[in-house]
Symmetry: C2
Subunit: 211 residues, 2 copies
């Protein structure tokens, strides 16, 4: 099947949303935990967290002001902090449910049954049920003129991972921790490793290096 | 295991690279096809392609000028076009090999055995062996001051997907097409669907909706 530019422009709105959200490839699923100045917590699932660099340790994410409840972005700007908590296979249904439009006074933690976890005096709530959790310090944001989405950049200031998922070289085995991969907006997948490959060099073929 | 800010700063460089590249969650694996003004083709694997919006259909990607051969970015700016080709389980080893630093005059297509595919007069090469392929029109780029990486934004102008992977609602079943998910820089995974969930509403729990 082939869609050209004219066909893409002519597609029904919802069909195009689903199509375009699928075709970039597998995405991460993360719960973003924040708190408002009045103490009300917020938890939202995001599929748009991405690696920006390791030195310093930076992650980006895309916020859609018009389609996502704005609480997350407002809270990040107000408090300077947020948490990133991996969705794993035992919590993906509750995690998906955080995207429902609850009334303003309702915390998604309460509504979905996921539990707030406050630790090490970090100023935003982690998700107790999550296994891989990051404390993030807000660094900067910008509205992208091309489509009015907001790019938020944060620096990782804390990492919590299970001992059993952490390799000797710093590799975190997300599969062992049950983290899921996502297609589009709603399709959740577990994974099975094909191989871990050696650093590529011109004169040799990659070989599997196991863990 | 817990890493705080001081521990993160004190980690050996390579360990930190591996750790930080793992912790954002699963990533996509895409081959970026370009051509230089002199006709030399370039193919590079990227794990940093991400969804930016469906209306218009935009994807972003992060280019690291100092660690990735610069050919990809130069070619995009020179020609205004590139292709995004999904890595699937039958080509992940050859795809990984495109990251080797070949001599300037060598095309990664020739070096890795992946095949150029020119079609519909699109001005950049697709990968014949790939199953999901996007033609991209360059829109804009910017260097992010925080770490000197480059954010490249393109608009999808063509989509090629197997009939068997395309659902009635526009959903593209990447799993059926064999697309892989990646941890970090080198760990490739196939997937198994847990469920596809209905749109979340405050008063009901998500239910599986199948395909």
């Amino acid at each position: 099947m082939h869609f050209g530019q004219e066909q893409l422009h002519a597609l029904p709105h919802r069909y195009r949303t689903t199509l375009i959200n699928s075709v970039a490839g597998f995405k991460s699923a993360n719960l973003i935990g924040t708190v408002a100045k009045d103490g009300k917590t917020n938890l939202s699932i995001f599929n748009s967290v991405f690696h920006l660099g390791a030195h310093p340790p930076l992650l980006g994410m895309i916020v859609r002001p018009h389609s996502v409840p704005r609480g997350t972005l407002e809270n990040i700007l107000d408090t300077g902090a947020y948490t990133i908590n991996h969705v794993h296979r035992d919590i993906f249904t509750a995690s998906h449910q955080t995207s429902a439009r609850y009334a303003d006074e309702v915390s998604e933690f309460t509504a979905t049954g996921l539990s707030e976890e406050w630790k090490d005096q970090f100023p935003a709530p982690f998700v107790a049920e999550s296994r891989i959790k990051l404390g993030m310090d807000y660094r900067e944001h910008q509205t992208l003129a091309i489509n009015q989405t907001v790019l938020v950049i944060g620096e990782i200031s804390a990492i919590h991972v299970p001992d059993s998922s952490l390799g000797e070289d710093g590799f975190v085995d997300l599969e062992a921790a049950g983290s899921v991969a996502v297609i589009g907006l709603d399709s959740y997948h577990r994974t099975t490793r094909l191989d871990r490959l050696s650093y590529a060099k011109p004169d040799t073929k990659p070989i599997g290096v196991g863990h």
